[in-house]
Symmetry: C2
Subunit: 431 residues, 2 copies
Amino acid sequence: MSQIDQMNQLYAETIAIGTELLIGGRSDSNSLFLADELGKLGIAVRFKSVVGDERQDIVMAIHTAVKRAQVVVMTGGLGPTVDDCTREAVADATGHRLGRRKEALEGMTTKLAQWGRRPSKGQLRQAMIPSGATVLKNPVGSAPGFCLIWKKALIISLPGVPREMEEMMRQEVLPLVRGAMESSGRLPRAPIVRQVFHTFGLAEADVDAKLEGLIPEGAPVDLGLLASPMGVLVSLTTKGNRSAPEKNRDLLQKLAIDVRSRLNDWLFAEGRDRMEEVVGRELAKRGLTIAVAESCTGGLISHRLTQVAGSSAYVDRAAVCYSNRAKTEMLGVPAELIAQHGAVSKEVAAAMACGIRKRAGVSVGLSVTGIAGPGGATETKPVGLVYIGLDGGTGRAITQEFRFHGDRNVIKQRSSQAALDLLRRWLRDKA
Amino acid sequence: MSQIDQMNQLYAETIAIGTELLIGGRSDSNSLFLADELGKLGIAVRFKSVVGDERQDIVMAIHTAVKRAQVVVMTGGLGPTVDDCTREAVADATGHRLGRRKEALEGMTTKLAQWGRRPSKGQLRQAMIPSGATVLKNPVGSAPGFCLIWKKALIISLPGVPREMEEMMRQEVLPLVRGAMESSGRLPRAPIVRQVFHTFGLAEADVDAKLEGLIPEGAPVDLGLLASPMGVLVSLTTKGNRSAPEKNRDLLQKLAIDVRSRLNDWLFAEGRDRMEEVVGRELAKRGLTIAVAESCTGGLISHRLTQVAGSSAYVDRAAVCYSNRAKTEMLGVPAELIAQHGAVSKEVAAAMACGIRKRAGVSVGLSVTGIAGPGGATETKPVGLVYIGLDGGTGRAITQEFRFHGDRNVIKQRSSQAALDLLRRWLRDKA
């Protein structure tokens, strides 16, 4: 890693291998973990490449990566099937021939024996490692990884399964990278610090306007914005440089105070915290219980609330009342009220919130009724019209009207977020 | 696009631009769309690059891409904020200087006027287009795109917002690519055909074993496998070549018949069809209605069933009974039954299914009770123990026991899939 000595900023590139990943459509959790962990050592992920299970394409990706990064983390393609060809591609790219390695075979055999199995013919291929490479133990699965230095870059090859990749990074790779940096006198260095802020209720352009002029000219911090149905995410990321480790953190702390005051109560969470965790914590702290009455969100709010470990302490129940009859039977919403105002109305939202609170005997009743589309719209009630209700124990619900845009899924997502945000604001004002 | 003439297989590379994308954690729906649409023209997406909002890094990504692809589709970095620098990067990379283009400005001004707005200073930057490039109209948003030919590659720059990108691909880019291919005599050519099969209930290794020897030696088809909590996905993808358009399709049809017979009833869907759509269609076809009683899945089954447009025709309601009291009050599960067997037991799963069916007056009652973890396990009942119940109208429920591995989220996902799969198999046997 002598190239590391000559540069101020250290860069990493990740190469995800798998034809299915190239097609996409799936969330990629590995990137977040790698960016975080490498960032702690002051190494920035600069490029991410995705390549199919094609030996010569993986070779090309390696050749490209070593030119622009000092650390190359490859994930995937280490399995026992024929299309797994990362081992061969690394050998082709670097000229380090494959050979069966005792420590790789032993680790795998031991792991398989724990499950009462012996290596198959395909699995024996997994012990083939490029010459000169260090074998990386897999404490979770059977496929060993490896790393080697080539063209002054550290090339690391790990399985694509998140749990295996993460354990191997923690137990094997990061100590190794840290050791190499220490021995070359490149530590301490400032870690790349990233701070994330989550807002709901503002358009991206409005968040952008509120943050204008935030970053002082020339400050080593990047500001990022990303809009989704769940709100607008704001990120501050320092650059990894050779200044003192505290310096980046201090700068970010100052900026974070400014961001919080500019975003004010549109800010609902920071870091990896999610809306359902925020409201869950507040409910638990105050010893409050909740029940939810959902129509157009179809169970999504309840699903989200119960994603949080320990949520059984405050979530009592949810009633998903898709039919009008269910609204009457499960929540006691009068059939006449529905006939008079329609199921999608602030009156019905209010009656749903009060009904579920009373029947469940909980502190808070939260309700949603709306038109998720694509069908169901009328002349006066368009797709995206959503009413939210909250009864905090008075028997009189507060309600909010929303007019969302987007497809069925987006409208469900936004509605669930809006409902939880109303709950968050109510909990805050109650304090 | 003269390079296209000389090659049999045509390749595309996508470059997604945005620091937040580099960090990951989000599902990338653009890739699937691009792979599908380009594939129809016989163009294979070979590499996918992700790069932050750094001008010089985008330049590097462009230089790499034109060496290995004939079509380069860039998404993102065309917005009005300072960190949007795709326009500048393309100008830097290709030497085509930026200039304000009348057609770009007009399209944007017209669009903004529809929303009662005038271009801001930042938005005026969006009309800066590299010289010689063709401006691509944006029928959805305000940012225009553009395309130009450089180093024999067609470089296309589009906004990252899926709806804008998709419309611009359909209305502007694909006709343009098709035209270029036609005029160079490269059409007709066999499209890349991809067929996807979804299984549930088998481990990846078992699916792999069942498909051994499927693809005849030398056949131009790739077999892919991808495991997730929702099951194992199997894909067959032909290569895009200059053979007759029907040929790839015929080959795939033959292989698909073989795949179906090998995977048998583990196969629950094909293509983009999802489990909730499969069971929804079957319920609708038979005029059956359903109600769900969920404990550990917390509303996820109901959320999934109601993701399908038109599901209000067969989904009547769901009861999420997190507390034991809710199980008794909402479903009539006797408190003594819970005391005797525990809330997580096949007896309670059965009583939940029968209870919801009877109370809702529907054709089918489906239930889940289990321990999603991390808390809640006992000596005899580990995290991941899940019972599923189904009452199809007899008042006696069938039940299944599962022992899932994984974290809270994975156990919820697998449980919801297992419940819907039980419903699917029951509907099939009923036919």
